[in-house]
Symmetry: C2
Subunit: 379 residues, 2 copies
């Protein structure tokens, strides 16, 4: 489970002279271990801090609250993995998740490699209270280095295991899109369409599934994106529906545009232009392509068709976050590689009037791109 | 907006000799300012860290990412409030949320009171990367103090403004319970019931609403709680449905138990016992009552009725978190006060067989308790 991810990480840390490391970012923890706790609805008073991964002597230890132990247990079976848990909830004492996690971290920070070396820390996500523990536990001569973002480039190329998770989730988001297409009728509100899509996804998954991203009618001033509200769909309205179903700690994504009744000629022309832009984008994806060039080509295509050019990214990688490297944006010099998974999402927006966006996922193959999303984006 | 909360905080910090403070816990930020950003579906690559509140010279400054500025703006109108934003997302540069937030925090840490004094920091939630900024910005002679959990006791007594938010949300969760009661039929799965409840809540609210907590059939081994899965409801099954609708940054809560067809005699007897336990609990709530005594009385009632005693809390406060002080648990010496809002939730569980839990919210009045939840919990 995610052994390849840990092999890449081990190699990177070694090449940078890092002997041990503490990972505190939610995405690093999931990517390194496959651990994906149930979706949170808020801050748990019992939790002592984020799940952590401690790396030393080539081994990875996942630190979690006791209530997450069942979800984490599989990682403890990995040859280079271990799981340790601290007590969170109790009815017999005041909640002591914070001190309990600090104590567990203190116990965990061991190993020959940390007696004299360099220890990496994800500082942007490690709480100060836990950092004190790290600093106190390590000898003075050990130096600390910030390693925030170091895993980002390693996450770009997907493993077969990750592809399965992503493809499963793209199919799930597609079930939501089919429900949204059926529900998007005059008189229905954004939130009604959203609720239908979300229900269809959760029923199909047989479990709760957090859902992003956008569900907005064209006559909203910001018709690029936003959460669904109670705006009704009127005759000739456009409705952008951009759905990310999140499961196994992995995202999906995909966007379609639906209409209240028949689209107007103007909308149909916009829709066809965006369809062509998306196809053009997909045709440009191959190993060796430069992300910024794909971006610029699509923006030029939209401008040449006589439309205002969208202000958002042309696309992005996807994995344990919704938006990740490579970014398909104007300044990006990132090179596309085989086995990356990319989202492409050109659009045309007339604020307060109407808008259209279409989005697909592709897997980068040896010679081009294979579409991973199959929702109906037609007029 | 939340002026009373800030007055209490000002008094507390003054009494403790704290001249300035940095609040980093999500709940502190909402409670102090009323700021409640849209529900998150995951980690944003654009965010530089959590929203923060800096307190100095009697004034509170809310630090947020630019995309949250619209939601935060109202707080800037408060006489003792200000809002400052940093750039998060951009297509023109690499994402620099972290450094941008650190720079904004650096600029914000000013004021006569921090040139020589004592500064409080919520250390359990402040990322190390931002803590460096705090330490570097403050003169050596300024001492830092951990203030984690200091606001918890101040949050127990609700303001009229908070009561409105809570009561609105209890009504919303009640709409979900009514939908769940209708949906809980033989052949439907836990997730089907959940999806119906969630849809009803989101449609009624006209917006996305995160939903906790439990939806479990009695024949699951852990039938106390858990997320809904694809277990079908069979004839004579019990189904615990415990729903928290979260809006305005405030929680709600409430539990009912439904049955597949008619409940058995054993289930009916359990249900009536739990109903009586809940009524008993409510009758004990008044200013001056001791939380631990309410807890012990209800456990004794369940034991005296010949049932195994539940292992979870008897109840808890509610507000910007789902579970907060006062805790109604065996060891608690906390004294009930007027204007607290308490959840009470006795239950009876036979693992892998059947279970029942009923839960209501009450407002503590001058002489007793007034029920705030009105969902149908009858057999």
């Amino acid at each position: 489970m995610h052994a390849e991810q840990r092999a890449r990480t081990r190699d990177l840390l070694k090449s940078k002279g890092i002997d041990a490391a503490l990972f505190a970012h939610r995405t690093s923890v999931t990517w390194l271990t496959g651990f994906a706790p149930a979706p949170q609805t808020g801050v748990s008073a019992a939790a002592g801090g984020p799940p952590l991964v401690w790396y030393a002597d080539g081994r990875f230890t996942l630190l979690v609250m006791d209530s997450h132990l069942a979800d984490a247990a599989a990682f403890g079976q990995e040859p280079d993995g271990a799981v340790a848990a601290y007590q969170g909830f109790s009815i017999d004492t005041a909640l002591r998740g914070g001190p309990n996690l600090a104590a567990l971290l203190n116990q965990t920070i061991t190993g020959a490699s940390v007696r004299a070396g360099k220890v990496g820390v994800e500082e942007r996500d490690l709480p100060v209270a836990l950092w004190y523990t790290v600093r106190e536990r390590l000898p003075e001569r050990v130096s600390l280095a910030a390693i925030d973002g170091w895993l980002d480039p390693l996450r770009m190329v997907k493993t077969p295991e990750e592809l399965v998770k992503l493809m499963d989730n793209f199919a799930l988001a597609g079930i939501g899109q089919a429900a949204a297409r059926r529900a998007a009728r005059v008189g229905q509100r954004e939130i009604d369409v959203w609720a239908e899509a979300h229900s269809a996804i959760q029923r199909a998954a047989g479990q709760r599934v957090p859902l992003g991203n956008d569900c907005v009618v064209g006559y909203r001033q910001n018709n690029v994106g936003g959460w669904p509200l109670d705006y009704p769909i009127r005759e000739h309205d456009s409705l952008i529906v951009d759905l990310s179903a999140i499961r196994y700690g992995y995202w999906s994504d995909g966007c379609a545009t639906y209409y209240g009744g028949a689209p107007t000629e103007r909308q149909a022309a916009m829709h066809r232009t965006v369809e062509r832009a998306l196809e053009l984008g997909i045709s440009l994806v191959r190993p060796g392509a430069v992300a910024g060039e794909i971006d610029r080509t699509l923006r030029r295509f939209i401008a040449d068709a006589g439309y205002p050019v969208y202000r958002h990214h042309t696309g992005h990688g996807i994995g344990v976050t919704g938006h990740e490297a490579p970014r398909i944006v104007p300044y990006s010099a990132e090179i596309i590689e085989q086995d990356m998974v990319l989202m492409l999402e050109p659009g045309i927006y007339f604020p307060g009037e109407t808008s259209v966006r279409l989005e697909d996922a592709v897997l980068v193959t040896a010679t081009g791109a294979r579409r991973l999303t199959h929702h109906d984006k037609s007029l």
